[in-house]
């Protein structure tokens, strides 16, 4: 998974946890130890996809505007990476049997990864996050 996809998932879970609150890019960036510049680009993509909305001015920021029960991790990753046909042989007509067998193994792994990402929603992420609260990371972020 690319860094942008990971940041997008962090941001969406963060915003969906408190849907009525406006959260700034710098606040999310600080919590997840990433640059506000990179995060701003990610938020722009999420905004175009209708998953977040931004409010300008004092007290402004981003809020979650998607459907947490319907939006899967695969939906989010697909905004930043080509997930349509990850498993490809460069030159099928010239491929050897070893290349074909390794290709089959890679496709098997891809299929499982896609099925997993496609089954986990933002809502499920929120539930799991509650169950796995980290005394150091989560508490420090609240200070």
């Amino acid at each position: 998974m690319q860094k942008s996809s990971r940041l997008a998932i962090y941001a969406l879970v963060e915003l969906a946890a408190t849907p009525d609150r406006q959260v700034s890019v710098s606040e999310i960036g600080e919590k997840y130890r990433v640059s506000a510049h990179h995060l701003a680009k990610v938020m722009h993509t999420l905004g175009r996809a209708g998953l977040v909305r931004s409010t300008r001015g004092v007290g402004g920021g981003y809020s979650f505007s998607g459907n947490a029960k319907r939006t899967t991790l695969l939906d989010v990753i697909s905004l930043f990476e080509d997930t349509s046909d990850d498993c490809q042989l460069a030159d099928p007509s010239a491929a050897t049997s070893v290349e074909w067998v390794l290709f089959d193994v890679m496709c098997e792994i891809d299929d499982i990864a896609k099925a997993t990402f496609g089954a986990i929603t933002i809502s499920t992420m929120l539930k799991q996050t509650e169950r796995r609260r980290q005394p150091v990371g989560d508490e420090a972020a609240q200070d």
């Binding site: 496609g118 089954a119 169950r131």
Partner: protein
């Protein structure tokens, strides 16, 4: 098993009740399964009923959901079937869920969640602390549901092959 969790209010306008299946429910279970899978299997369900609703009830659980009071005739909204299995492939005894369905028109209203919770309670009362199930990769509905209930990939990987494709020695 312990008594199922108390019924709760839902958008269904009544109380979802979770209870053990009865023989009178069987036709509705067959019908629900046929509508969801497109494949009617009355003989299979008769066998499942005989094995999971009439014997070794302390470790076999065939539960159904309805909008319940004590009167008969309420439509079945869903079912879940599971049993305690031990020592397969070296596994400690665990609870296996091998059949689960919710009436399509009543999904997203807590029926599946209550069936799952009742099965979880039943396994707990049988001394079991781990539940397992198997889901087709393309069945995103069931995958997403079980994930939302907290299930994650377990320590076993399911393998299969076409027997005609066996690699020669």
């Amino acid at each position: 098993m312990t008594e199922p969790a108390p019924a709760t209010e839902s958008f269904l306008g009544g109380k979802i009740r979770i209870r053990r299946v009865t023989e009178a429910d069987l036709d509705q279970v067959v019908s629900l399964d046929a509508r969801v899978t497109g494949n009617a299997k009355p003989d299979y369900w008769r066998d499942i009923y005989e094995r999971y609703a009439t014997r070794r009830l302390d470790e076999r659980f065939f539960l159904v959901a309805d909008v319940g009071d004590d009167q008969a005739g309420h439509p079945i909204l869903g079912y879940i079937v599971g049993e305690v299995r031990g020592w397969e492939f070296g596994s400690e005894p665990c609870g296996w869920i091998f059949a689960f369905s919710v009436e399509p028109g009543t999904r997203q209203q807590g029926v599946g969640e209550q069936l799952f919770q009742a099965m979880s309670d039943a396994f707990k009362s049988a001394g079991i602390r781990t539940m397992r199930t198997m889901v087709a990769r393309q069945n995103q509905l069931h995958m997403a549901f079980f994930r939302s209930e907290g299930m994650v990939a377990g320590p076993y990987i399911q393998l299969e092959m076409d027997i005609d494709d066996k690699i020669p020695d």
